[in-house]
């Protein structure tokens, strides 16, 4: 177990593409950090640099106390779980899990013991003699986990490990992985594009956008205080409403008819982005703010109402017991839970 430090780590691919801009992060010992962002934002690149599968263009990476920039993946004492599992198709489950140990020169008895132990933890005992092709997706995923565990690594790396599973299994494995990680207490970096996975699993989230770190924080921090419109829009489903408002004598105007009952932030120009979480907004009110509901989305536990507020797209979420209908209706905005963003740079004010 070890803490991981990235000091201005940067990646430029040989074709000149800058996939990861200088990134400095300190991952405390035993934490699970989730790297989240849309497809192509450089998550895998960053993870693969930590693994040693990709050269680090600039900056220093340390695992524990050593700078490991020039170490081989096998010497970094890490284990990695891949999206497509990357199991060796011609080896049995037991051989798959033990291969790394065998290459390290561990004795047969030691390999056996460790494989048995991992199989017990992961409920794979009955499958040790099977080939990967004779297992279901979830079982293969477990074998991949087992291969990581038996090596007793200082650091687990996961690259979208649940993307190939169906939704139900994904939820189940998510909980299993989290529980296992907490039990073993191994520092972990987990890559995903799924904000639900990020929110539920992470001790700390790193939001990446186009190779740049947008925000680092606990799930609550990220959700309650998104540092930018990108984070606000990416984390949370449905995403945060972002309304463009004119500041007119201290009031926030969406258009001629709609004035938000919210005080404008001080020291702004004449425009600001107003962020409102759909679940913070309530139906009903004094009629000063009118929401034109066009579509009602039924989700079972709650309902989403989509429509227009002052001519701009707007959504809100109500509980399953509240009546929901289309048409114009009054709403109440949460004065205490309004987020303001700079309209030009998208940063939080």
């Amino acid at each position: 177990m070890a803490q991981v430090t990235l000091d201005r780590v940067r990646k430029t691919y040989p074709n000149g593409f800058e996939a990861v801009q200088p990134c400095s992060v300190k991952i405390p010992d035993g934490e699970l950090v989730v790297l989240v962002g849309p497809s192509g934002c450089g998550k895998s690149t960053l993870l693969r640099m930590i693994a040693g599968l990709e050269d680090i263009t600039d900056g220093a990476l340390s695992i524990g106390t050593d700078v490991v920039n020039d170490k081989d993946p096998a010497d970094r004492n890490i284990a990695m779980v891949f999206q497509n599992y990357a199991l060796y198709p011609h080896m049995s489950v037991a051989k798959n899990m033990g291969y790394g140990l065998k290459n390290r020169g561990a004795s047969k008895a030691e390999i056996d013991a460790k494989v048995q132990e991992a199989a017990r933890i992961l409920n794979l005992g009955d499958y040790l003699d099977r080939r990967p092709s004779q297992l279901s997706g979830g079982q293969r995923q477990r074998v991949a986990m087992g291969r990581a565990i038996v090596r007793d690594p200082e650091l687990f790396l996961f690259d979208e490990p649940l993307s190939n599973l169906d939704a139900k299994l994904r939820n189940q494995m998510r909980i299993e992985i989290r529980a296992l990680q907490q039990r073993l207490g191994v520092t972990s970096v987990y890559v995903t594009h799924d904000q639900v996975e990020a929110m539920t699993m992470a001790d700390r989230i790193i939001v990446l956008n186009a190779g740049r770190v947008e925000q680092i924080g606990t799930p609550t921090e990220i959700y309650e205080y998104p540092a930018s419109t990108f984070v606000a829009g990416f984390m949370g489903a449905p995403p945060m409403n972002l309304l463009t408002a004119q500041i007119f004598e201290g009031a926030l105007k969406l258009n001629e008819d709609t004035v938000l009952p919210i005080t404008a932030p001080a020291g702004m120009g004449h425009k600001v982005l107003v962020g409102l979480r759909p679940e913070d907004v309530r139906l009903g009110g004094d009629g000063s703010v009118l929401f034109n509901v066009e579509i009602v989305e039924e989700l079972g536990a709650n309902r989403l109402l989509h429509g227009k507020l002052g001519g701009q797209d707007f959504s809100l979420s109500v509980g399953k017991d509240e009546a929901a209908r289309t048409g114009v209706q009054p709403i109440t905005l949460p004065v205490a839970r309004v987020h303001f963003f700079d309209p030009d740079r998208g940063t939080r004010i």
């Binding site: 599968l53 990695m80 198709p89 011609h90 291969y99 790394g100 092709s133 291969r147």
Partner: protein, 302 residues
């Protein structure tokens, strides 16, 4: 609008024991049997002819029916010394052919796997260029470059040796090409997982790549063995010593030699027996590796 309702389809009761004749199946089998007959008939004819005396064969050509000469003819074919120098027997030729077939197939697989490994997995400066250079050798089979090859082998003192027989045949791109395509279809993550598991280049090759390629190896082995076995031109050129003759070239030599010895009748029965023997090993190889090949295809996945 119509209501969506659940419908229950009752499947017809299974009709056992009333096997109806399916005409398409009869048709398929007719074609198969006809094809098999056309393929096997000449072989059968040759087999029957080997039971006749040489004099009969010279007079009447290929024969139907069985006479008593078959054992003698096969015995002579396998064990009787022949040729100008009486240095060659059928067993010796069979052994030479086997050495050529196995040596060629195994050599080819080893060399081309290693070449493909280098091209696909190592960041060589001119890897693509090297591959295309290798690839162009497909345009230059041995028959095209036979004189320079002969010169080279001759001046290396390898004429009338097994190395001289096998090595020039190995130099062609087919195997490299197939293995390259195959290696490129192996997922990148597998390579990376192996790297993290501490498998260096040699371990990765032996522990992962070779076992994964076993179906490919079996397929190429079949093709290459038969190709090597059937070689005629190159062995004719490079082996002048009768002790080095392979079956395929030796058969003709025997008939020729005997017919040139004047009064004697060419030993057709013996030659025909030899040609039958020459057919057996490739057939065995195909049968043996085919089952292996199919098993590999159905069991493994990448």
């Amino acid at each position: 609008m119509t209501d969506i309702t659940e419908t229950h389809v009752t499947s017809p009761a299974p009709s056992r024991s009333t096997k109806r004749i399916r005409w398409s199946q009869v048709f398929d089998h007719t074609i198969l049997c006809t094809g098999a007959f056309f393929m096997l008939f000449p072989v059968l004819l040759v087999l029957m002819t080997t039971s006749f005396e040489d004099a009969d064969i010279v007079r009447n050509g290929l024969q139907f029916g069985f006479e008593g000469q078959m054992l003698e003819n096969f015995d002579a074919a396998m064990f009787e010394a022949a040729g100008f120098s009486k240095a060659i027997t059928g067993t010796r030729m069979l052994m030479n052919s086997l050495i050529l077939g196995f040596g060629f197939a195994i050599g080819k697989i080893v060399i081309s796997m290693m070449a493909a490994y280098a091209i696909v997995y190592f960041r060589l400066r001119f890897a693509t260029f090297a591959f295309w250079i290798i690839f162009t050798t497909l345009l230059l089979p041995l028959e095209v470059r036979i004189l320079p090859s002969y010169e080279a082998i001759q001046s290396l003192g390898l004429a009338n040796t097994y190395s001289g027989l096998i090595i020039p045949l190995i130099a062609s791109a087919t195997g490299t090409f197939f293995f390259r395509q195959f290696f490129r279809s192996i997922p990148e993550e597998l390579v990376e997982a192996a790297r993290i598991d501490g498998a260096g280049p040699i371990k990765f090759f032996i522990d992962i790549l070779v076992p994964l390629s076993r179906t490919m190896i079996a397929a190429i082995f079949i093709i290459m063995f038969v190709y090597g076995w059937n070689q005629y031109l190159w062995p004719t050129l490079i082996t002048t010593d009768e002790g080095m003759f392979t079956l395929v070239r030796g058969i003709k030599q025997i008939v020729q030699v005997l017919s040139q010895t004047g009064a004697m009748i060419p030993e057709y029965g013996k030659a025909l027996a030899l040609s039958l023997i020459a057919m057996i090993p490739p057939v065995l190889i195909v049968i043996f590796f085919q089952s292996w090949f199919v098993k590999g295809l159905t069991e493994s996945d990448k």
